[in-house]
Point group: C2
């Protein structure tokens, strides 16, 4: 007598995923109600809910109240990236962390910054340019703009000593953020600062954070050539 164990939510998830991969339910098709799946697989509805949560997080299905659960028509690969504090990243690789403030000034933000933070009209912000070093070699250059409305306290921080990145992480929790990745060629100034050849390809990580729909900071971080972002799963 082969008495099956009661299914765990991972098994339920994999079973439903198999239904989709096998073509039993195709792109856009509606899956049975949670309660029916629970009945079929002999488990509680909450177990199905937990499984569906995972499939939904992974981009496999779409769930709507009243509308049911559907196979997502455009499958995506969903990758989760950890972007560490730069100091932790360098020290984690065994490097000695160094920091150098390049420039700091109150100024009206240029158009790309306005667009990033979502402002129509310019308000004065604090611009901070800084270098992060690993064993005295430039590792990352950051061009940061900080809102004086949501983070006025930044003006009383000595940014030659304290890293704006870390001060903000510790003192300015955010409710929403956005990240962009793209490649640029090193312009003459960046080439000198980062000690790389002019035109060298560099990975850019742009991050903007908001609290209650008000921007806190936007930063463009340019990484030294050879730098990679990694995501596993």
């Amino acid at each position: 007598m082969t008495e099956d164990q009661r299914l765990g939510w991972r098994e339920v998830r994999d079973t439903i995923h198999d239904w989709i991969l096998s073509g039993r339910y195709g792109a856009g098709d509606k899956l049975p109600r949670d309660a029916d799946i629970a009945g079929d697989l002999d488990c509680a509805r909450s177990t199905v809910v937990r499984a569906m949560q995972d499939l939904s997080d992974a981009g496999v299905v779409d769930r709507r109240r009243r509308g049911g659960t559907r196979v997502r028509p455009d499958p995506v690969v969903r990758a989760t990236l950890d972007i560490p504090i730069t100091r932790a990243e360098i020290e984690g690789k065994g490097g000695r962390y160094g920091y150098r403030l390049v420039r700091q000034a109150r100024a009206l933000p240029p158009a790309p910054v306005l667009e990033a933070v979502g402002w129509d009209a310019p308000h004065e912000m604090l611009q901070v340019e800084a270098l992060h070093l690993s064993d005295n070699v430039p590792h990352m250059f950051e061009d940061r703009w900080i809102s004086l409305e949501t983070a006025p306290e930044i003006l009383s921080v000595d940014l030659a000593v304290q890293n704006a990145n870390e001060w903000l992480v510790l003192n300015k929790p955010y409710s929403r953020f956005e990240v962009r990745f793209y490649a640029v060629a090193a312009d003459p100034r960046l080439a000198v600062l980062m000690q790389v050849a002019e035109g060298a390809p560099m990975l850019v990580i742009e991050r903007t954070t908001w609290i209650a729909e008000q921007p806190i900071t936007t930063v463009k971080s340019v990484a030294r050539p050879g730098f990679q972002l990694l995501s596993r799963s």
Copy 2:
């Protein structure tokens, strides 16, 4: 009489998050047991568990059986990226999708590919080079290597007609994947294929998938200059 509503899991999560942000619990500190938090906040333990799940997913806390829940010592920004099927991405932006097979050959993989898939000794694989076009303009170039052990059926697919990317997505589910992002300069051959200047900075997305610890495919996709990957939250 201000009678508080019973807390939902998001409120429980935010409350705990506030404890951390306010410094009441610092990096590495142990938080109370779930059951105690549930008692303090007057909700069920499962509500606390749901909240903690979210904080754990977001990289804010570490949870261990018997070891309790601790504030993660190295805060990270955790970003979720959707990497769409290239066809869907182009059509989603209103472009007309085009595909061109550049080269296809059985070969022994070079060292970087071996390293990506985690093999010690080379086995023969299928190499496929292809271009994805948007309105006849090169959008992305992919250099793909496919395992003939886990995906032998690929040999009977006409890759001049059917896109390897899409065939694999539909036919080869994977259990694990890895993604890397970095920047490269266009070499002469790539410059011609992508119709860009030699040395142009390009974003590379490298993906490898495995099923049950056996590699299926690894692909290096080079995107046209100006391409951005975006992540919101």
